[in-house]
């Protein structure tokens, strides 16, 4: 039985801490940090000058993502659901979760024939055991990609909950090449999430991993054991190049 609220009142500690800090904070205003060297340096590619054409970033993104042990499947705008299916079959996934009312549900339907498709359409507490113990893969779309590091930018929400890319052992992420940026700061300056921060903004690079035992790298620590990125080429003329 939950107890009635007995949370300690911490306003005295608040006053003491802020008072001590105020008493010793420097009086002179300090200059606002200048981030230009970051944006112009090797870690901020694509921040200065015009945005590099996404078509020029596909290969770099793929190489970087593979470097972090993500699998990358290229697809055309017309046939990407088949690539998703291919990924699921390769990983022997039978029970697959997708967001409800998300941007991809309808397109995927036909391609997932024969699999058990579970829509994430109720609060997690109603089906936690099933999500944890019986779902083989979660499929999500991707807000943006970072070519420099092979990173995915995800903005989970009602249509694609946070656990979809976390709990199932396989995460399949669909990324449109038109959403590729050269570097992380370039992507963040374009997306400007700080204007209206979502509950969760997430960067994902490769599958979950750890080197906590004798610095030996092992995959599948607590998050997905494998990450497949379906890279939809919506920027090259010929599609698959």
């Amino acid at each position: 039985m939950p107890h009635p609220s007995t949370l300690p009142d911490t306003s005295a500690a608040r006053q003491a801490i802020l008072g001590a800090l105020r008493a010793s904070a420097p009086a002179a205003a300090s200059p606002t940090p200048d981030l230009t060297p970051y944006w112009q340096g090797p870690y901020g590619q694509g921040c200065a000058g015009p945005r590099p054409q996404p078509a020029t970033l596909l290969d770099r993104f793929e190489a970087a993502a593979r470097g972090w042990r993500a699998e990358v499947l290229r697809a055309r705008p017309a046939d990407w659901p088949l690539a998703v299916r291919q990924a699921l079959d390769q990983h022997a996934c039978r029970r697959v979760a997708i967001g409800a009312g998300g941007p991809m549900g309808e397109d995927l339907g036909a391609a997932l024939q024969g699999l058990v498709l579970r829509r994430f359409d109720q609060a997690i507490e109603h089906w936690k055991p099933e999500l944890f113990d019986h779902i083989d893969a979660g499929i999500t779309h991707t807000e943006a990609g970072v070519a420099d590091t092979g990173t995915l930018v995800l903005c989970p929400g009602p249509h694609e909950p946070r656990t979809l890319s976390l709990v199932p052992p396989l995460h399949v992420a669909v990324l449109r090449a038109s959403r590729l940026y050269a570097s992380l700061p370039a992507a963040m300056r374009a997306l400007a999430p700080e204007a209206d921060m979502p509950t969760n903004l997430l960067l994902v690079t490769g599958p979950s991993k750890t080197a906590d035992i004798q610095q030996v790298l092992a995959y599948g620590a607590h998050g997905p054991k494998a990450l497949v990125i379906v890279l939809v080429d919506d920027v090259s003329d010929g599609g698959l190049s």
Binding site: M1, P2, H3, T6, L7, P8, T10, S11, A13, R14, I17, L18, L21, A25, A29, S30, P33, D34, L35, P37, Y38, Y43, W68, D121, Q122, I124, K128, F132, D133, T149, T151, P158, P161, R162, L166, V167, L184, P185, M188, P193, E194, M197, T199, N200, L201, L203, V204, T205, G206, S208, T210, A211, D212, I213, Q215, A218, G220, A221, H222, G223
Partner: protein
């Protein structure tokens, strides 16, 4: 299932010198650390071969941290306001005891008998696991390294790689001993799979998840977590309640300030351009969302940080982003490991932060654990002048505060009255030339009385003895006047 609450192999920083002797005599431990430090140094080095690029990035990181600290009270108030608007409940704790009281009250309020934890050094600082165990609340570590350390009933020996002192054989034995139906294996993939299986059930069933925080963004009211394993995401997403705890210094103003610090943090810590996850949390589950915690609490801990803040000389200590590069490059840490320090934060950063957290009395020896070689300052991604701070703390341990500076907790606790008197007498003598000459002359004549044992000096050196004749007497014979 676990040994949470079992007696900690507690090491007291007061016994630092004895601890170091024990540590350097442990060949096994030294091999573990040497190879781990070589590995981490090489991985970091590969990312910063272009030193000009590193310097430029470090300049940005340092400027952000200094700016954030200069505005710290304003930013904390703005952060609190934005967090509250987003539905996060903010609590303040001046001491570890106050922080633990908040944790306990939250556990009681939600009827929770346990909590699942992501990695948090601040929770180590308040000894959360043991304080909760005393009250019947079980805290389970879920970071693989922390889980191993907890099974062993030990403390983390490194802030980024907590189980760096453990071999896979020791870990295999721990797992066989503590986890039912686990056969002995030294295969790292299998060991990790075992940990994954055990902890997955815990994530699923826990009511409360606990995490640390790497950065807080004041303007957006966001908590930023950096990790590879995904346990941080689990702890902050799956349970109904998320409690985050962190030090008051971790705040920055704008979201864009996080990115250069993230670039510096991951490269400096483990030599990764990015970690698997960067998790930005802004408030509890909103209307219409189907997962995420229903309550988010943030505990802001002072625990001596405001003392470091008070003095402009010590304030740079709080620039730290906890990457661990200073320990990875410290020749002392590499030889004695993290446990000998007896503090939550070991190595050079531990030697400069622990005196503020615990007072100088128990930690007075820690700032002496350095040859002042400067490697820590060279690699620090936010430009903390660690060797200068070590020297200042050595002085503060042995001398009263200088005029214009408030004394630190434990100021002058290592003051040696005999030594202070000797220096005073020496100064007095120097001001009286006649007496000085007479006394020195006497000293040369009775040099045979020099004791062969001269305290710490003769532990590793030959005794100091006056020469038969002083320099002053010899020079005229050599034509020097």
């Amino acid at each position: 299932m676990t040994t949470a609450g079992a007696p900690l192999h507690f090491v007291d920083p007061r016994h630092f010198k004895a601890n170091t002797r024990e540590a350097v005599d442990d060949a096994h431990l030294r091999r573990s650390f040497r190879s781990a430090m070589d590995f981490l140094q090489a991985k970091r080095g590969a990312h910063f071969e272009d030193t000009a690029a590193f310097e430029a990035l470090r300049g940005v990181g340092q400027a952000i941290r200094q700016y954030s600290l200069a505005r710290l009270p304003d930013l904390l108030e703005l952060l609190e306001q934005r967090l509250t608007e987003r539905g996060v409940q903010v609590h303040w704790a001046a001491t570890p005891a106050e922080a633990n009281a908040i944790f306990l009250a939250l556990a009681r309020e939600h009827g929770a008998t346990g909590m699942i934890k992501g990695k948090s050094m601040v929770s180590e600082e308040i000894e959360l696991n043991h304080r909760m165990a005393e009250q019947g609340v079980r805290c389970l570590e879920s970071d693989m390294g922390e889980y191993i350390v907890q099974l062993a009933g030990e403390r983390p020996s490194h802030i980024i790689m907590p189980a760096i002192h453990k071999t896979k054989q020791q870990i295999a034995e721990l797992f066989t001993q503590h986890i039912p139906d686990t056969p002995y294996t030294e295969d790292v993939d299998e060991l990790i799979a075992t940990g994954r299986k055990v902890l997955r059930n815990e994530f699923r069933d826990a009511k409360i998840g606990v995490s640390g925080v790497n950065f807080m963004v004041a303007e957006t009211g966001s908590l930023v977590l950096v990790e590879n394993e995904g346990n941080g995401r689990m702890c902050t997403t799956v349970p109904d309640v998320h409690i985050a705890i962190t030090g008051i210094e971790k705040v920055v103003q704008r979201f864009e300030h996080v990115l250069p610090l993230f670039s510096l943090l991951t490269r400096s810590a483990t030599g990764q351009a990015v970690t698997t996850y960067l998790n930005v949390i802004t408030g509890p589950r909103r209307e219409g969302e189907l997962d995420g915690p229903k309550q988010v609490h943030l505990i802001l801990l002072d625990n001596g940080r405001s003392q470091a803040y008070r003095d402009a000389d010590f304030r740079p200590t709080l620039q730290c982003i906890r990457c661990g590069a200073c320990m990875n490059h410290c020749p002392v840490y590499a030889r004695i490991g993290g446990l000998a320090y007896g503090t939550t934060y070991p190595g050079p950063i531990g030697a400069i932060i622990s005196p503020h957290l615990l007072g100088l009395e128990p930690t007075q020896d820690l700032p002496t654990a350095s040859s002042l070689c400067g490697a820590c300052a060279e690699v620090c991604p936010v430009g903390i002048p660690i060797p200068d701070l070590l020297v200042q703390l050595r002085r503060a341990a042995r001398h009263d505060a200088e005029p214009g500076h408030a004394p630190l907790a434990g100021q002058a606790s290592a003051k040696d009255w005999k030594e202070a008197f000797a220096w005073k007498a020496w100064a007095w003598l120097n001001e009286r030339p006649v007496l000085y000459r007479w006394a020195i002359g006497l000293g040369h004549r009775v040099r045979w009385l020099t004791p062969p044992w001269q305290g710490g000096w003769t532990a590793h050196r030959t005794p100091l003895k006056l020469a038969r004749r002083g320099l002053r007497d010899r020079l005229p014979g050599r034509g020097v006047r």
